[in-house]
């Protein structure tokens, strides 16, 4: 029996050869993707009140989509609008949605109570680009081709040309301040009166003619987040930039190794950036810590992401992104390519 002891010892010791005692750093996990297949080319996305519905502007199909996001995601309704809806904004009381068209000089106000067109009206701008509520009855609208922004009063139906440069718009409704991310820099305007006036703070120019992918303000109205790209050098911009909303100085730079496609900030100041490029392991939405300004979590998503198309629910439980999955674009329908689906991603606690 004693002569078997060394053999038993050797066999036992050799088991260690098949143990993975060292584990790699696990930066991300993969779960089943929660995807609502839409096959749409979406230009903007807004979250309704109480995080119950999502509203998506369907650029190719000239319509507005209403998506239920409580429980299983499903398409509830589709409302035909005008030519190529490009941008949307929720009214301050969250009851209406203003939709700007790229293909016609018309604005639609959608009543969210019954998901119908409440009013529509024509304006002088062509190739509209962005629309925001200044207050419950006043809109700011920008275009890609007209040099200046206009305001439109819903009570008086009067359009006023503003001395605001065109670009992506953000409004702090509490202080009647508008921010514009133009192709050259970020500017700040006082919009408390009918005629906007430029505030003394102007951010430094980018140094190139930029394409603005997304421009938002944090829920506490203190920080502006800007996703921009350089059309002459697609790989040149590798970060999302944050500006102090008061002084328009830099307050952070969030590196994702490519231009930001979209950015969202939760009510508890968690920052989520959707990059343009995939990592070698896949496409990730990157969460940053507001204090350290460093990555805190990575969320694998199902495909290439879309400008503007990331939102977070009010409880910071999920974020929603539009994804274009490779290999999913085979369609016999003519001109139907780059179709996006809606993905819901659970946010780590």
């Amino acid at each position: 029996m004693i002569k078997f002891i060394p053999i038993i010892f050797l066999l036992t010791a050799s088991c260690a050869l098949y143990e993975d005692n060292d584990q790699p750093n696990i930066y991300f996990e993969i779960h089943d993707f929660d995807i609502l297949e839409l096959g749409k080319t979406v230009s903007d996305i807004k979250l309704g009140s109480n995080s119950q519905y999502l509203y998506l502007s369907d650029y190719n199909n000239n319509s507005l989509l209403k998506i239920n996001i409580q429980g299983k995601m499903e398409l509830l309704d589709e409302l035909i609008l005008g030519s190529h809806p490009i941008a949307m904004d929720l009214s301050p009381d969250k009851t209406n949605l203003a939709v700007a068209m790229e293909g016609e000089s018309k604005i639609y106000i959608i009543s969210l109570a019954d998901f119908s067109i409440a009013i529509s009206f024509s304006i002088s701008l062509m190739h509209m680009n962005d629309i925001v509520y200044v207050n419950s009855h006043r809109l700011l609208i920008s275009s890609k081709t007209d040099p200046t922004v206009i305001s439109y009063d819903l009570n008086t139906n009067i359009e006023t040309s503003q001395s605001i440069l065109n670009g992506e718009l953000v409004v702090n409704q509490n202080d009647s301040i508008a921010y514009v991310a133009s192709s050259s820099s970020v500017k700040k305007y006082d919009v408390s009166n009918n005629q906007a006036s430029l505030e003394p703070y102007i951010a430094d120019p980018y140094g190139f003619s930029a394409t603005i992918n997304h421009f938002i303000i944090s829920p506490d109205k203190s920080i502006l987040f800007l996703c921009l790209s350089n059309p002459d050098n697609y790989t040149g911009i590798k970060s999302v930039y944050a500006y102090d909303a008061e002084t328009l100085t830099f307050s952070g730079q969030y590196k994702v190794n490519s231009s930001g496609m979209g950015v969202a900030v939760s009510n508890n100041n968690r920052i989520f950036v959707a990059p343009t490029d995939a990592d070698k392991n896949g496409v990730f939405v990157v969460e940053f810590d507001a204090q350290t300004k460093l990555e805190s979590n990575y969320y694998l998503v199902a495909g290439d992401l879309k400008e503007r198309c990331i939102v977070i629910d009010q409880n910071t439980e999920y974020f929603y992104v539009l994804v274009n999955t490779p290999g999913d674009n085979n369609s016999f329908e003519p001109y139907n390519d780059y179709s996006f689906d809606l993905q819901r991603v659970h946010i780590y606690d």
Binding site: L17, Y18, E19, D20, D22, Q23, P24, I26, E29, I30, H31, D32, F33, Y234, T235, S258, T276, D277, A278, D279, K280, G282, V283, L300, A302, G303, D304, T325, P326, G327
Partner: protein
């Protein structure tokens, strides 16, 4: 290959084994996950098997594999610097893989029953490990036909006829000895299998097999632990074969996974197919 690695004294055997698997189903741990890159790998190996029984109870064996590996996936935008806009990306490697040389010794610890075949040998480092993609970038190590390191291998095999049936069991292990020239080191492998075969007919035979595969994680240079490598697998196989003549066997094995617990996410195959043949003759 274990059952193919013995020849009586004065006997030579030559055989071929072909194995093909199509890996397209990713698993994270034990759960299936979406194949978001539409990635798939065709993995084929044709092995030339040579056995020579030169001394009583001693067999010299050589296993010479020819491997073909094709990996395809649809890239996301920016996922590969050479193909910024994404699209189909293929990687291919083929050639003679690492040759295994082995000496087996047959023991008979229980007289007339359960002969024990104990083998020891080396896996050579002859397989090429520098296959390139179409952009002349070296493709990843686990898609190369060789491993780049000389490793010891050990095996154990026994069988026992019971009426018209033959039960057999065996184990094979490869211990990774060192990193290859690129700093990559494969994890250790332990294969264990048990078979129940029907041998009552002079013409046909068939059976079932339970096969356990345990692999540990690979490591990169300086011991950095690789993600997505290693895990535990249990496969169930059905086998069918024919004794074409007294000297020639032909066997087909269809193998399916019944349990897989893999480290992080890995591509798996829902089945693999193996075809083996062996021709025996005396000098």
């Amino acid at each position: 290959m274990l059952k193919y690695s013995f020849a009586q004294e004065g006997q030579i055997s030559i055989g071929f084994a072909y194995e093909h698997e199509y890996l397209s189903s990713p698993i994270y741990g034990t759960h299936p996950i979406p194949n978001y890159n539409k990635e798939r790998t065709d993995n084929s190996t044709t092995t030339l098997i040579l056995n020579a029984g030169i001394f009583p109870n001693v067999t010299f064996s050589a296993f010479i594999p020819y491997r073909y590996i094709l990996n395809e996936k649809v890239l996301f935008r920016g996922q590969n610097d050479n193909q910024y806009d994404g699209g189909l990306y293929s990687r291919e490697a083929y050639g003679i893989g690492d040759i295994i040389l082995q000496i087996s010794y047959q023991l008979n610890p229980i007289k007339g029953h359960f002969p024990l075949l104990i083998g020891a040998g080396v896996k050579l480092a002859n397989g090429k490990i520098n296959a390139m993609d179409k952009y002349d970038d070296r493709i990843s190590d686990n898609l190369q036909v060789g491993s780049g390191s000389v490793d010891p291998v050990f095996s154990l095999y026994t069988n026992e006829p019971i009426g018209s049936f033959m039960i057999s069991a065996g184990a094979f292990t490869r211990i990774s000895s060192r990193e290859n020239i690129y700093g990559y080191k494969y994890g250790n492998e332990l294969h264990a299998l048990t078979n129940l075969d029907y041998i009552g007919s002079d013409l046909f035979f068939g059976g079932i097999q339970l096969y356990y595969l345990l692999t540990t994680r690979d490591t990169y240079e300086y011991g950095k632990i690789a993600r997505d490598r290693g895990g535990k697998n249990v496969f169930f196989s059905t086998k069918m074969g024919s004794k074409i003549t007294d000297e020639i066997d032909l066997e087909i094995i269809l193998q399916m996974p019944v349990y897989q617990n893999l480290n992080e996410s890995q591509l798996t195959s829902s089945y693999s197919i193996q075809i083996g043949t062996l021709y025996r003759f005396s000098l």
